[in-house]
């Protein structure tokens, strides 16, 4: 939520005394962290669900990971209002693409689309850090990360947001120990799939509370969206959480 500085309108008519300046800051930072890991034929993308402003928690359940197509998921961190509007606009473009071409847009094309959409707002940017995860046309798992004005790169793993500095070096480490080579994907095999999935969950359990809204993208026909349950998961007695899950 965006807050406007409180200022009482001046009801008295006063004499002019030099120029006056008004200002309005159209941005705020809503905290949170997102991450994604690319595997050989899958990718994992996750985000916490807390939305905050300063030290205040606005809500404990505002997901910032969004399904775009059967093979693409977008996580959006930064200014929540911009994030939601940006996802809305991306989805609209993807729908137009479906109508025009009778198929889903491929992942690398979505990545380029996101770049042009972000750069179109070069001088009034969406204040969001995007991470796009999914499956490429050739079946490989992929992660694309963006800055707010559209500079992007395909990577093996990426974290963004409030805990980026804590999570990113840990992901680097786990990526390198999983026989990470010069490739942009981690050649994880089937048995390491669940490990990688629980890895991202563990990250959030140790770093954030609560955990929620994790999406596993798989090249298999069915796309799983069941939330991960861990022995260490804190008790969820928030009625709203269960309602929206």
């Amino acid at each position: 939520m965006l807050s406007v500085p409180h200022q009482q309108p001046n009801l008295h008519v006063q004499q002019a005394h030099g120029p006056q300046q008004r200002h309005f800051n159209p941005y705020t930072e809503n905290g949170g962290t997102i991450l994604a890991i690319a595997g050989k034929d899958f990718s994992v993308i996750a985000g916490d669900t807390r939305q905050s402003e300063g030290y205040s928690i606005q809500t404990r359940y505002a997901p910032k990971v969004f399904r775009l197509t059967d093979r693409a998921v977008l996580a959006v961190n930064g200014f929540a209002a911009d994030g939601n509007m940006f996802v809305k606009k991306v989805r609209q473009r993807l729908e137009w693409y479906r109508h025009a071409h009778a198929k889903d847009m491929p992942l690398r094309a979505i990545a380029r689309l996101i770049q042009t959409m972000l750069y179109a707002r070069r001088f009034f940017p969406f204040y969001v850090y995007n991470i796009l995860g999914g499956i490429e046309e050739d079946g490989t798992g992929a992660v694309y990360s963006f800055d707010p004005v559209g500079s992007y790169e395909r990577e093996a793993c990426r974290a963004a947001g409030a805990a980026q500095s804590l999570v990113q070096p840990f992901l680097d480490n786990q990526a390198s120990t999983a026989k990470f080579s010069t490739s942009r994907t981690i050649p994880l095999t089937e048995e390491l799939r669940s490990l990688s999935f629980s890895l991202s969950a563990e990250l959030f359990l140790s770093g954030c509370y609560p955990i929620g809204n994790q999406t596993l993208v798989s090249s298999r026909p069915t796309v799983q969206t069941n939330p991960y349950q861990s022995a260490r998961q804190p008790r969820m007695d928030n009625a709203i959480y269960h309602k929206w899950r």
Binding site: A163, S165, L166, V167, Q168, P169, F170, D172, N173, Q174, S176, E202, L203, S206, G207
Partner: protein
């Protein structure tokens, strides 16, 4: 830019099973300019205590000598070696003496303290630049890569690591943390302190 980040550098200490480890990077810089890749920030205090001093380069050198002097004075007066807990309080009070014009250093200490039964107990501690002590049971971090060190250590560390495993854990932690920090890196040194030996290893790191 902050005076704490002027020269860069990071230190971490971890507890293991009847052992402790402490590691630092080797970079000394002037803001973004790299100046030295052989600037150690960890110094031996006794046979069983090491002190890491990340922060302003000039204060690293000053405090290293100041603590050497004060520990020597303690040893002469008491006619025994200083214990890690005592040394931690010496560090703390020395820094607090300069409460309103501090040394820009965040010390990290690691050592083995004597138990009444004649054994040794792992000890680590860290303070902020005015000497507020933090006795942690798992690990302590300081320096320009501190948040990165925290993230990796939180993910890799586990209780009761044997010396070899503790070495691997602390090495992976510092290497991966400083590789994401522009102000740290250029090589690392790791000390693993056990009751009958100290193993010191130099790690080659990315130079880009």
């Amino acid at each position: 830019m902050s005076i704490m980040e002027n020269n860069g550098g990071s230190v971490i200490a971890m507890v293991g099973k009847e052992c402790v480890a402490i590691a630092c990077d080797l970079r000394l810089g002037n803001q973004a300019l790299g100046v030295s890749s052989d600037f150690q920030k960890i110094f031996p205090v006794t046979d069983r205590i090491f002190l890491g001093l990340p922060g302003l380069g000039t204060d690293v050198t000053t405090l290293k000598e100041l603590f050497r002097f004060r520990v020597n004075m303690y040893t002469i007066k008491e006619e025994r070696e200083i214990e890690p807990e005592t040394f931690a309080h010496l560090v703390s009070s020395t820094l607090y003496e300069h409460r309103f014009g501090p040394y820009f250093i965040e010390p990290v200490m690691a050592g083995l303290s004597k138990t009444p039964s004649g054994g040794f107990k792992p000890f680590i501690a860290a303070t902020d630049l005015i000497g507020c002590l933090n006795f942690a049971k798992d690990f302590v971090v300081a320096g320009t890569a501190s948040s990165k060190l925290f993230g990796v250590a939180e993910g890799l560390w586990e209780p009761d690591l044997e010396p070899e495993d503790l070495f691997e854990t602390i090495s992976q932690t510092i290497m991966n943390a400083v590789d994401r920090d522009a102000y740290s890196g250029w090589g690392c040194i790791v000390h693993v302190i056990t009751k009958d030996q100290i193993v010191t290893r130099t790690l080659k790191a990315r130079m880009d």
